[in-house]
Symmetry: C2
């Protein structure tokens, strides 16, 4: 499967790219607003993986070209770039599944707070910005980017997944579970995205307030 990580040059996109490249046989395409930046990062990821005896090719393309190649497009961009990023690639999405991992947050003196857009969640915003026929899946909201990108770190995290499209949910569930140490869980419809997204500021607040805790994820049982 071809996975395009738009905004895959940093944050959660980097970790997903490295882990999918290492743990699965999917083809990884890094997307960025600038093709050159995408290529540079793709090379860096290849070098990082080669240093671990993982010989993989990772492509680097401008976002629209990356989207055009992909079966699954992960919008690994900050929430405030989400609509613009979707607009930039809308004509290239085709039959691909669109995955939204972004969370809207706001910081004050107490900590970090969930700050959803008016439509209720960032995942819902992605659905609103995308062409009507594109299946939207909310996933990977609660992964700590630093630990995810550190291939020395073993994961043991759950990934709640929301979507109104059962096939797309299955596709992303399989993708998520392709990463070692990730268990995907069905959190229901897209309307349930806000409860998933709002766990991210909680994870950040817990890491900030408890000694020895950082890069937190979650496990449900």
């Amino acid at each position: 499967m071809q996975i395009a990580l738009l905004g895959g040059t940093g944050d959660i996109g980097q970790g997903l790219a490295l882990r999918w490249a290492r743990d699965t046989n999917h083809d990884i395409i890094i997307g960025s607003r600038e093709a050159e930046k995408a290529e540079t990062k793709a090379d860096e990821y290849e070098t990082e993986l080669a240093s671990r005896d993982e010989d993989v090719d990772i492509a680097g393309l401008a976002n629209p070209e990356a989207a055009a190649e992909a079966d699954v497009i992960v919008l690994s961009v900050p929430a405030y770039y989400l609509s613009d990023t979707i607009d930039d690639v809308a004509d290239e999405i085709g039959d691909a599944v669109l995955v939204s991992p972004a969370v809207g947050m706001q910081r004050d003196e107490s900590g970090v707070h969930y700050n959803p857009p008016g439509v209720g969640s960032v995942t819902a915003l992605a659905a609103k910005a995308a062409p009507d026929e594109v299946p939207i899946v909310g996933a990977f909201h609660n992964l700590a980017a630093g630990k995810l990108a550190n291939l020395d770190a073993d994961l043991d995290w759950d990934v709640p997944i929301v979507s109104d499209d059962a096939d797309a949910k299955d596709t992303v569930t399989a993708l998520a579970e392709g990463i070692d140490g990730i268990r995907a869980l069905d959190a229901g419809d897209l309307a349930n995205a806000s409860e998933v997204e709002s766990m991210t500021p909680l994870l950040i607040n817990l890491a900030a307030n408890n000694e020895g805790m950082h890069d937190l994820g979650v496990k449900f049982h």
Copy 2:
């Protein structure tokens, strides 16, 4: 320490009462709007514990009398009774710490959704309803009542705790960790309560959508 569980006749109050009675030396007082109902439930809990060779006395009193005795008062009532319950006991709180575990939720065809009151969280509503000088702690929002009340079930759950009062937070942290299998975590100020509360509908949605999962709690790492 004297712990009063207002609304301790059902749901999460039952589980906290049984586990504190079994796992700690604290004195447990069940509060209810009707003293007789509180007494009946207290007797039931004693019988349940006696069947496990735990010989403890549990008191049952009307809410105001229960509150008057207590060092810590747990408002284990539904969110929509919270303000009324606090009003009923306001004159009896004295130096006690008030603990709010309730979560406002609403169900639709997709699942259960977080539905906070206008002040931002149920914990903040407790702070608003209580006399100014009373320390408020948000805790125990994310515990599955059924499993908590089943003393055959071993727990392995985290309890995020929020408060603006450091001493009260320490008191409730120690209380929480007195229960076998519970780890208390500092989630920061009371302003961070909504992110803690909104995890409860997520737990319910995950249990509803994943086969073999029920009575879910959470562990952060």
